[in-house]
Symmetry: C2
Subunit: 313 residues, 2 copies
Amino acid sequence: MYIVGIDLGGTFFKVGLVDAKDGKIIKKIERETKVHEGRVKVVERMAQAVLEITEGFEYTGVGVGSPGSIDHDRGIVRFSPNFPDWVDFELGGELSSLLNKPVFVENDANAFVLGEKWFGAGKGHEHIVALTLGTGVGGGVISHGVLITGKDGIGTELGHVIVEPNGPLCGCGNYGCLEAIASATAIKRMAIEGQKKFPESEIFKAEEISAKIVFDAARNGDLLGQTIVNRVVNALAIGVANFIHIFNPSIVVVGGGVSRAGDILFTPLREKVKHLVMPSFKGTYEIVQSPLVEDAGILGAASIVLQRKMNQQ
Amino acid sequence: MYIVGIDLGGTFFKVGLVDAKDGKIIKKIERETKVHEGRVKVVERMAQAVLEITEGFEYTGVGVGSPGSIDHDRGIVRFSPNFPDWVDFELGGELSSLLNKPVFVENDANAFVLGEKWFGAGKGHEHIVALTLGTGVGGGVISHGVLITGKDGIGTELGHVIVEPNGPLCGCGNYGCLEAIASATAIKRMAIEGQKKFPESEIFKAEEISAKIVFDAARNGDLLGQTIVNRVVNALAIGVANFIHIFNPSIVVVGGGVSRAGDILFTPLREKVKHLVMPSFKGTYEIVQSPLVEDAGILGAASIVLQRKMNQQ
């Protein structure tokens, strides 16, 4: 069985034809989203890409992982910060009528946890907490086999759990959300803020400051780099320990660009979480780096189709 | 249909015969638990009480709300802090063989949320977050109609979500858990700690300091009382906002002894949570005081029977 996953971003969208058997991506295309051309044009270009990629293949359906607040039962984008004209937009219906195939839409962080369940580190798990550390911090949870979305489909905003009351201001208006400390955006911001105190830091020798540059500096023993990484790890550890106490998951999967820092992030994170969880939770969970890397978006989106078909059975 | 609920506590247990139709308690008994006499004696006394209370009534089953870590599928108490010899104890099986009836065991905080769903403020809701503010802080969650217990049945430890990193030491070993600030025990402790700075506080004129005395003082304009209530409200607001962002519930029910403080707690709590939740969550939830009051334990325990029967259908 073949399925299609569309990873919709504000600048680019990626479309992949996926073999549902093993999650192998048969073909993929990346196109510019061009939000400014209006939503009708965007959907037409998405449909065009699906037609190109599926030529000669019989496919079952299309999953779209979209940023923003999604009414997943009806395939509607309620609103999405980088898509100004996408208000109560029937993305699923529009795309479905162009393709004559079922189309399922889900929030991109929820798609991420589904991708991990069907094709990634969460295979065989019924209790999964997933975090994506990218421009923002997204979260997705599967508990008792059920994708937790809440009454209105807007739940598991794990990036907006407060881990440092009185901490840095978050885009959402609160102070000290996980996203305000552990996102790539926050890491870059903390580096820039550190320049006054650490003018000699190697971070400022880089052409462009990024989360990667900060982790590289920390690895080289740079004091500012280490200070920032330490703060990121502390914030993540409080968040992850909270999620473990709340969901009692068998696995916590951390993905997104920041997760590629690897051991310098995961080794102290595992250590701190171990100290924060209550004795009864010891040994009940593992914390792993997402193995899906750059295909996480397409595979997550494609997994929406599988999860919906499973729920319909 | 009649069902029996047993609210098991470290000092007393309560047994109630409940009409499943409307949650009316037909009869109830309270007995001393006498944990020191050993678990066999305790279970025998529980069975005796059930026999007494059900005489002349046909009943369907027994639910037990027990403190501690519960393997609810097998009716086993894994361990329970105030019950030293209850380690991997087959409470459900033992009681069932004495009564010749099905017996279901659940953690008491999980029983509380079930009670709210079947007989309390959560009727008709599929997404409920419940908190009990008593000696400790317990939590129970129903999400998409499912009681969330996690992989090992030990989840929704909402009282151990960290809301004040570097805050007061909690019984669990962490600093700044919700329980370390918003439990009756914590409120009493904060009052005692405040004596040095506020020796004139009316709190110290009371025969015995309690959470109730602290709330009464705050209502009278006492500065220490108000300072403590303010801290409790802030901690609870962060916790509740986190839970709303995580579960997107339609209702948050707060019960337990501390909740009886009423408006002085709930009015500022609702106000602060409103400021903390993201715009998309505004108007999606309500925060209510548990209406079940002192019968919450029995009704919660009895509800376990109803929930299990529903899941078996």
